[in-house]
């Protein structure tokens, strides 16, 4: 299965105002892997995620998703393969009801009504929110909004799931539910977050990004236990690994 691969080769990205957000990033994520991206504020995590589905195109370097190289022409095709869940659910959910929102993607893919209905019901069932279908997003709680955001992407059946700070603003129970949900998915996952315990539970591999460069790449157990590396990047040991913290 070669088509669930994300491949970055020397990707450089400069914002129009001259800020260099990525300064030559290379990595390869293979099928079914789940990868956490960590780093300080402003290190380039979000920019990296915006590249994955072609919202921003690299200034130089090469990105390929599966067998497709990311260009202006292949953007649409790539967006079908990569589902992105944004940090703020209020940006992600823009339709008047939950149902319409989840149906938005599949309808844009040109599916028949029956197929769209199936997909929407399946996606909402997966996240356990079928009974919210007719509600407007402003009647939902933060945790529900986050779950529905994920459903909107699941309904498109992407090969790759990219998420920006999925655990922010969630209460512990909702966060726990989300971890359970994500661990059930067999997709290739790429998650940018500051919540290191979350990464520890959901991901197997971890990339550390600093000033637009990847400074470490390894298994979660390797990287998230390396105190000096984490502290260099404005991070700290995951709380669950800190000893004697109650004293």
């Amino acid at each position: 299965m070669s088509h669930h691969i994300i491949d970055f080769k020397d990707v450089v990205f400069q914002y129009p105002d001259g800020t260099k957000a990525l300064k030559g990033v290379s990595f390869r994520i293979t099928h079914g892997e789940s990868v956490g991206i960590v780093g300080a504020n402003g290190a380039g995590k979000s920019t990296l995620l915006l590249q994955v589905n072609g919202y921003l195109l690299p200034s130089s370097g090469l990105i390929s998703i599966g067998d497709l190289e990311l260009t202006k022409k292949t953007r649409q095709e790539i967006r079908r393969k990569v589902g992105v869940v944004f940090q703020n659910p209020d940006d992600q959910l823009f339709m008047p009801t939950v149902y319409d929102d989840v149906a938005f993607g599949p309808l844009n893919l040109g599916m028949s009504t029956e197929k769209v209905t199936d997909r929407v019901n399946f996606a909402l069932q997966t996240i356990g929110c079928l009974d919210l279908a007719s509600k407007p997003p402003h009647h939902l709680s933060g945790g529900q909004k986050r779950a529905v955001s994920i459903a909107t992407v699941l309904a498109m059946e992407p090969d790759i799931l990219a998420m920006d700070e999925p655990s922010s603003n969630l209460d512990p129970k909702s966060r726990r539910d989300l971890i359970g949900l994500l661990n059930e998915f067999k997709h290739t996952k790429i998650i940018a977050s500051h919540d290191l315990d979350f990464i520890l539970e959901v991901c197997e591999r971890c990339l550390v990004i600093k000033n637009g460069l990847i400074v470490a790449d390894g298994t979660v157990s390797e990287i998230l236990t390396n105190q000096s590396l984490l502290e260099e990047n404005n991070l700290e040991l995951p709380l669950s690994l800190q000893k004697n913290r109650m004293r």
Partner: protein, 268 residues
């Protein structure tokens, strides 16, 4: 705080529209068409009409009770807007001074009659419009309008308005609170601070619009918003539309109140 209160009012109106009663269960199209027909009929009465308008108050009364809508809440809203109607009619009594009717020996000029008629028409139309939005969810109304062939672009605008008004108001609310908490007494509440606040809000809105557009693109948006069809017109809808039509025609053609009045006069 005033701002908070207005927001909760808006939210309340929205919550009302998600109730489950006979009226709420009707297809949005039925309600939109019926409301529109009612408004047209009411407005079509000549300017000195009063008695002919009275039976129409049965419509809002029925919806209030069947739809379980708090009467005072809606009436207060109507009062707020009534200023406009008063201004439209306030000069009628000055210009139109010839006596038109005799109320228990007191001569009443045509101006007062037409002023009163304007107020009644205003009340009926405003009330039915407000009742429409408090018995039908906003997306429902939009889908109804869409099926009645209103251009797509207006529908999308309305739907986005509905979706983001709550988000924006909450954002403003947070900013206003942050300002109030750090402005002691009058300082900090001046117009210049207010202007800054609006400016910040405007820029944040643009940034948000950008993020929303991005989210739309990520899910394959390419210019048109599609919706899944739902809501079928049921038997109840046709019955309701038919009855409304018949009753409107009846009320419009026969002045029932005068008729009943004359009958009672003849008996006694």
């Amino acid at each position: 705080m005033d701002f908070d209160k207005e927001y909760f009012n808006l939210g309340f109106l929205d919550t009302l529209s998600y109730k489950d009663t006979v009226i709420h269960r009707l297809d949005p199209r039925t309600k939109v068409i019926a409301t529109f027909a009612l408004i047209i009929t009411v407005v079509s009465f000549p300017k000195y009409e009063i008695t002919g308008l009275i039976p129409f108050f049965l419509f809002p009364a029925m919806i209030f009770s069947l739809g379980d809508i708090p009467v005072w809440f809606i009436l207060k809203k109507v009062m707020v807007v009534s200023v406009f109607a008063v201004f439209i009619g306030i000069f009628n009594p000055l210009f139109d001074t010839h006596v038109r009717l005799d109320l228990f020996g007191i001569p009443v000029s045509g101006g007062w009659v037409s002023f009163f008629s304007i107020l009644m028409k205003f009340f009926l139309t405003m009330c039915s419009a407000l009742l429409l939005i408090s018995t039908t969810s906003f997306p429902g109304i939009c889908h109804a309008l869409q099926k009645l062939r209103i251009p797509e672009i207006f529908i999308s605008q309305l739907l986005f308005l509905y979706r983001y008004i709550f988000v924006l108001v909450e954002e403003t609310l947070r900013m206003v609170r942050a300002r109030d908490l750090r402005s002691f007494g009058k300082k900090g509440r001046g117009i210049s601070i207010f202007v800054n606040l609006i400016g910040t809000l405007f820029i944040r809105t643009i940034e948000r619009a950008d993020r929303i557009y991005h989210a739309m693109l990520s899910r394959g948006f390419s210019g048109t918003i599609y919706y899944v069809k739902r809501d079928r017109l049921r038997k109840a809808d046709f019955v309701c539309l038919f009855l409304t039509g018949m009753v409107l025609i009846l009320f419009r053609t026969y002045d029932l109140v005068s008729f009943i009045g004359k009958q009672t006069e003849r008996i006694f």
